[in-house]
Symmetry: none
DNA sequence: TGAAGTTGTCTATGTTAATAGACAACTTGA
DNA sequence: TCAAGTTGTCTATTAACATAGACAACTTCA
């Protein structure tokens, strides 16, 4: 690593930030990799450590790097663009990004429908549901933790099928539903809880995007409802017209 | 003309300067043309007039614009217009362009006249000549490298005088020649050689205009002959009727 | 000759950038 | 458990940037 030439009219911290960004773009620092310490960067550029901190803060705000107190500053993997449309399929989206999608069954339980769930799925209160907990990843990097509810009557072996096929789209196909669409999508943000933090390999306190959605068949019949928590630092939702 | 978006970490004056430079490059301001007044530019960019002045000063230092008190700031022609007439004086031409001319003695040697040189200067073959190597610049920017031959008998201390006066016109004046004219001018083009490239601050392979000329006194007596190499990217020769 | 418009210069003030040093808080590995 | 290395935070000082207003010096044109 070497210091770049300094130019007039551009703040030092900006020049340092641009230099580091270029290094990341060039692959001199790999995604997930560790940058040199702030002191070392300061020496390389011949500037004060505070100036380096300003540069890193600017990069962190843009999501390019992530500082971890006591251990270092790391290059963030680029966020996966995750389009939200009426046809939203995790596998297809990840595949489109040239990555290897994977759904992993964590747990599945049978439970009676609460009032809210019953309303969403157009079932009677207390109707039998499966709650399927899944972890979705791209190229082995955890992307989201999802909880999906669906009728245990209409999809009697959903947990087994999901465990085998690793995709909710394929579960529905297994029961003869070739097409479905998203009826509603609600997005909020929260802080990761301990269980999700472990599954998603996130540090405590990191933000998660929470997506609550209802999928319906072509005729409008509710099929499933889910609540997924996405590692905010690994995805960005893209709202596009259908 | 419209204001550009402002960005963090880059000084305002620099952003204004970059904006104006881009406008010049785009042809929105024509070479030799007048920029809007400082007050107007300030309004367009939404900054203080002093900030605009700083921007213009930076551009002026780089030779892109030239401010004229009382009348305005003008875009400099990319290339210096270099009229070729019977009265061709480097200093006068550069001065007319609002630039600071300078001639610098690089080397001077005594050598016998070759057949070609003897013919041009109307001297005997083998007659003693001075060969003067000079670098000519405008506002510190190298314009041409010239080799001049003149009689060592008629101009006994030509190298010393040139080193002191930095102008061939003044050398001739020193020897009582108040007026002279160009007898012939031949123009060709070539690629810069290594030595000239270094002196002219040109990248290897750049084109140079080669001018071979003979100057004579009012009575037609040959005074000097020269071969000058001009950085083609910095000058344009203008042929005008006398 | 005079008015309008231009660049040049001066003083003043507040904000941002950059440096410097010290220490706290935390992680890692021996 | 401890030492070394890391990021986070605080105070302080100096330089550069940006704004504001006023007026001088000069050019152009009616």
């Amino acid at each position: 690593m070497s210091a770049e030439a300094l130019s007039a009219g551009v703040a030092l911290w900006r020049q340092v930030a641009d230099g580091i960004e270029q290094a990341i773009a060039d692959g001199r620092y790999l995604p997930g990799g560790k940058l040199p310490g702030e002191t070392e960067i300061a020496e390389n550029y011949g500037v004060n450590r505070h100036t380096v901190r300003r540069a890193l803060a600017a990069l962190a705000e843009r999501g390019l790097v992530r500082a971890e107190r006591g251990s270092g500053t790391f290059v963030r993997s680029r966020r996966i663009a995750y389009p939200l449309r009426t046809r939203t399929r995790f596998s297809e989206i990840i595949n489109a990004g040239g990555r290897e999608p994977r759904g992993q069954l964590i747990a599945a339980e049978r439970e009676p429908a609460s009032g809210a769930l019953a309303g969403q799925l157009d079932l009677a209160i207390g109707a039998p549901l499966f709650r399927i907990e899944a972890l979705r990843s791209a190229d082995g990097v955890p992307i989201s933790r999802g909880t999906t509810w669906l009728s245990a009557v209409r999809f009697p072996d959903a947990p087994k099928v999901f465990a085998a096929k690793r995709s909710m789209t394929k579960v529905l196909a297994h029961y003869g539903i070739s097409d479905y669409r998203r009826l509603s999508t609600r997005i909020t943000a929260s802080v990761v809880d301990a269980a999700d933090a472990a599954r998603l390999d996130l540090a405590a306190g990191r933000p998660v995007l929470v997506v609550e959605s209802i999928d319906v068949a072509a005729d409008g019949t509710p099929l499933l409802t889910s609540r997924a928590r996405f590692a905010a630092e690994r995805v960005e939702f893209v709202i596009e017209p259908d």
